[in-house]
Symmetry: C2
Subunit: 284 residues, 2 copies
């Protein structure tokens, strides 16, 4: 294939965007486009500048035999704030308060574009944690877990509440639901996770905190390291808010069932993003 | 912001890729880059050529006041075959046969990169169907449903098996499982779908066909039009194979529980892709 330089840059941009956090040998592009390594390096330099100017992410080139180019999608505080504010606006919009003080979120969770954006925010916070797998629990944590995992280019592991024959041998734990005080079960296929893996836990909603505690107990059974915990929407206060590896994107307070009102606030995500940025500066 | 032309093309390429199937007014780029409309049009032409050469998708420009540019990710038969063959290889790889003739698929479903690729194959088949929503049933259909919906830029609606307080008022139907002959329930929040919407049904696995029939009954209750049905892996033969709007990506046959073997075949996906391509040629 012989493309014009500008067309080649379009194609390379697409390839990097669809293969994030993956080392791509320069020879891949060299043979694909039948170009000298120096031209490919220049192309990558242009892409790097474009991505940098627009805060799309980091393009790193590694020299040597095992070298190549690796693209890490990230975002800056300003873009994160814009995404999060449109997320909060959506929560504020419409009649979401259900009986028992629950909030209807299915339409928000069902918006792939928003989930992908929130995923990019979360992936930026955990970009240096060398996550091996994103672990979530069925059902509503799954969309954002995939959005995060797509960017980190790592597998998603789904914990189930029911034992399905399609899982093979499983490990099950019981936990007490923080809000209903009932005993619940979590089940995960035995072959899902390798010992010592670094995992990121993701769930959509936290009320009593029982689900997250349950996930942590289950992870203990698998002998993996939990490098982070992510909650999309948290209700009320939680003692977990002071945990260093715990991220929540939004918080719902002052639920008034009688008047059908509640307040939505931003979680601790901006502060977490600043922490990562600071670490990056220190490591430079 | 004032970027070099090549850097501008990088940024525009990223924007189009992250906003598929959405009309973007040229004025967006004009004011973003502070450039003349003619320069932006030339940039788009370059991106269009790059995408065309590499079969990344179609870039259409619409003239007039409500005009702009719209990017539809698609793929060609050759690329679809490559994706599907790596998918079949994965199914063939390892010890997947479980008791009862079930196949372990969680690790395949858990691979976001593969799910995104399969999503692109499916989205190409349904690109002209004006899908309003992708409907799936918890749990394992969710990943590929999001991959499809991300490309179509439409919401995902998740049918549940259990009634959760977080869904508000729901509509429930009962159906008979084709494989276990037990009566099962499907539940969907009443506010999930608008009457007359065009929906694409997605599920991961089909054995007896009861789930898909159940989904169709539930869709009847919502008065929507089912414009397509997608199954990732089908077991044995199904009378549905001859339905025109039914797509299956893979098929498992000759399960031998005693020896732990089975055969995997490609579904009817290539034939469906050819059908769409033929329609496109006719409509040109």
């Amino acid at each position: 294939m012989k493309l014009k330089r500008s067309e080649r840059i379009v194609v390379m941009t697409e390839y990097l965007l669809n293969n994030p956090n993956k080392l791509i040998p320069l020879t891949y592009f060299v043979s694909k486009f039948n170009q000298a390594k120096s031209s490919i390096s220049e192309d990558i330099h242009i892409i790097k500048n474009g991505f940098k100017e627009e805060n799309i992410g980091e393009v790193k080139t590694l020299a040597g035999v095992s070298g190549g180019v690796i693209f890490t999608p990230t975002l800056v505080e300003e873009d994160a704030k814009e995404i999060l504010s449109s997320f909060l606006d959506k929560i504020n919009d419409g009649n979401r308060l259900l009986a028992g003080g629950y909030i209807f979120m299915s339409d928000i969770i069902g918006d792939p574009s928003l989930m992908n954006k929130l995923g990019r925010v979360v992936a930026t916070v955990y970009k240096n944690k060398e996550v091996d797998a994103v672990v979530t629990v069925a059902t509503k944590g799954i969309p954002v877990a995939y959005a995060i995992a797509s960017i980190l280019n790592k597998p998603v592991i789904i914990i189930r509440r029911d034992n399905k024959v399609t899982e093979g041998t499983t490990v099950a734990i019981n936990y007490v639901s923080g809000s209903t005080k009932k005993i619940e079960t979590m089940i995960l296929s035995k072959r899902s996770l390798n010992t010592g893996s670094k995992v990121l836990l993701v769930d959509d909603f936290m009320r009593g905190g029982g689900v997250l505690t349950g996930m942590e107990s289950l992870m203990n059974e698998f002998d993996v390291n939990v490098v982070g915990k992510v909650i999309i929407t948290q209700c009320f206060d939680s003692p977990r808010e002071h945990e260093d590896d715990y991220l929540y994107l939004s918080k719902i307070e002052n639920i008034d069932e009688f008047n059908g009102t509640f307040d939505v606030k931003l979680g601790n995500v901006i502060e977490k993003l600043r922490q990562v940025e600071k670490e990056d500066v220190e490591n430079e």
